[in-house]
């Protein structure tokens, strides 16, 4: 009896220790980046764990904030995230609502068309040629239009709508209301939780998106912040690789602090809202577990 109790306690201890270490692996990289971004170039140059800056220096942030290109990129990212999310949630819920109604003509066909997109795609080149033919190269709509409908999000909203009782819209229908009024006045107001989940996912996807910007946008006035960050990082890396070993060049370390500041600047909105909206993110995964 005694030995099993000890075993029990030891297991518990090891599990807790492991989980703490795991949490540390996600917190430490952030702390490190934050510390470097707040360090002076000289301090960042000293190898170390950099859990916190010895003396806070805002010079890297001043450099980043005074950079016109980064400012424009940040604005473009905000615009695409806000507009893209709004449009996507509206059109997705309209689509999902229609699909949730058994009397929708061609319902099976449309459902199939939706699900099939999760299984097969034409690939990068055909998409690129389409965007080109639509004259969307160097056009900000290229950020928004292709991301509006995602099969996964539509299916999540649809399963929620299907779980609502039919009686909700019926009395309105008797009063002569059409489907638009039922959706926007009755259904959407009670679907806030699922809409919030989908909106957050779409927003994160927009905020983090860089591949579309890299392929379709050449005009620096329309570029997004992720691409600018990528340019700063790849510049640093190519320097690293060329020399094989890191040279003790001050300039390079200096750019390390700027890189960190740009990273913090880029993830700040996500980190700021994350603690408050976490439960919505998680809720979506449970909803998504329902068969498509």
């Amino acid at each position: 009896m005694k030995s099993t109790e000890i075993k029990q306690m030891l297991t518990d201890f090891l599990i807790h220790l492991f989980l703490i270490l795991l949490a540390a692996t996600t917190v430490y990289p952030l702390l490190y980046t934050l510390a470097i971004s707040l360090s002076s170039a000289a301090e960042a140059a000293i190898p170390g764990l950099h859990l916190y800056p010895k003396e806070i220096s805002w010079s890297a942030y001043k450099m980043v904030l005074s950079n016109q290109e980064i400012y424009i990129g940040y604005m473009n990212t905000i615009i695409r995230t806000v507009a893209g999310t709004f449009i996507s949630v509206i059109i997705s819920s309209m689509f999902a609502y229609a699909l949730s109604k058994k009397y929708l003509p061609h319902r099976r066909l449309v459902s199939f068309l939706l699900v099939f997109t999760m299984l097969f795609s034409g690939g990068t080149v055909p998409s690129y040629l389409l965007i080109k033919n639509l004259n969307l190269i160097d056009n900000r709509w290229v950020y928004i239009l292709p991301l509006i409908i995602s099969a996964y999000n539509v299916i999540i909203i649809r399963s929620f709508f299907e779980s609502l009782p039919d009686s909700l819209g019926e009395s309105a229908k008797i009063d002569g209301a059409n489907e638009f009024i039922i959706l926007f006045k009755i259904i959407l107001p009670i679907s806030k939780a699922v809409l919030a989940t989908v909106a957050l996912w779409v927003a994160v996807a927009h905020w983090n998106s860089w591949f579309d910007a890299m392929l379709y946008i050449n005009d620096n006035n329309k570029q997004v912040v992720q691409i600018l960050l990528q340019r700063i990082i790849t510049f640093n890396n190519s320097e690293l690789v060329k020399s094989g070993q890191v040279s003790k060049n001050m300039m390079e370390y200096n750019s390390e602090t700027i890189k960190s500041a740009t990273i913090i600047f880029t993830v700040l909105p996500i980190l700021a809202v994350y603690p408050f909206v976490q439960k919505y993110f998680v809720k979506g995964v449970m909803l998504g577990a329902v068969k498509g």
Binding site: A23, P29, A98, V241
Partner: protein
Amino acid sequence: MDICAKNTVNNTVKKRGILSDYKQNWDIMLLMLPGLLLLILFNYVPLYGILIAFKDYVMFDGILGSKWVGMENFSKLFAGKDFLRCFRNTLHISIIKLICSFPAPIILALMLNEVKKLRFKKVVQTFSYIPYFFSWVVLSGIITMLFSVSGPINMVYTAMTGKEPLVFFADGHLFIGMIVGTAVWQGLGWGSIIYLSALSAIDEVLYEAATIDGATRWQQMIRITLPCLIPTIVTVFILNLSGVLNAGFDQIYNLYNPTVYDVSDILDTYVLRRMQSMDYSIATAAGLFKSVICFVLVVASNFIVKRVSDNELGIW
């Protein structure tokens, strides 16, 4: 009254013709229309562009005007060393990733399930999800600093072993190890959510009964918890398997460099490179090759799972 009328109309719609069906449901169809048009435009219209995989595409002539070449692009593809190397690398990376990142979230979920202090559990979960919300551009920025020759990981390594620092970005093996490790790290917490929700659905009575029968915690896990997780595990496995040709473009593109192309050049980077050098037909052929294999894999594995489980499991 209207509702009843509508239902009877729907039941007899075949007799009354499709047009009156449309007329009856104009509002719901109008709601569907924008989404459907976008779906077709961005997911089905590009399928027509697949034709150029079988043509010698010249932009000036357009897709229809370019000359048919049959399977020539594919034979060129398989004759080239580059493509085969990328194919091999893709399989190599994604299989190692699958082996490492598939069981990890299950183990994490089982561990979290053993934690009785809810507060602690919640905090660990919250932290473990964070990397999932960062783009690989951001993550690669952080990773290149941490893994650099003078970074903290090498500092700890040299202090502990007294050896030379590891050059993660120039050594093939180390690079792949880092790719796999950071991929597992990024998806671990988020991947565990689906298992945790399955775990919370297990009836407590099962555990109570087992405890009375004298089962240890380990036995309870093997005999109760794991069997209850099987449906979820199978579903996630199918989804993972269909991505076996996705070695992780976002991650690799943002982390690799010419010194490790040998081991890290994958199908997606190949397609992108050929596209950027305007070899559209070859690039499309390579992309199509990948799409078709993915499609076959997911359909086949779903079919097999459904067969084995008497239609109980599977994703559709």
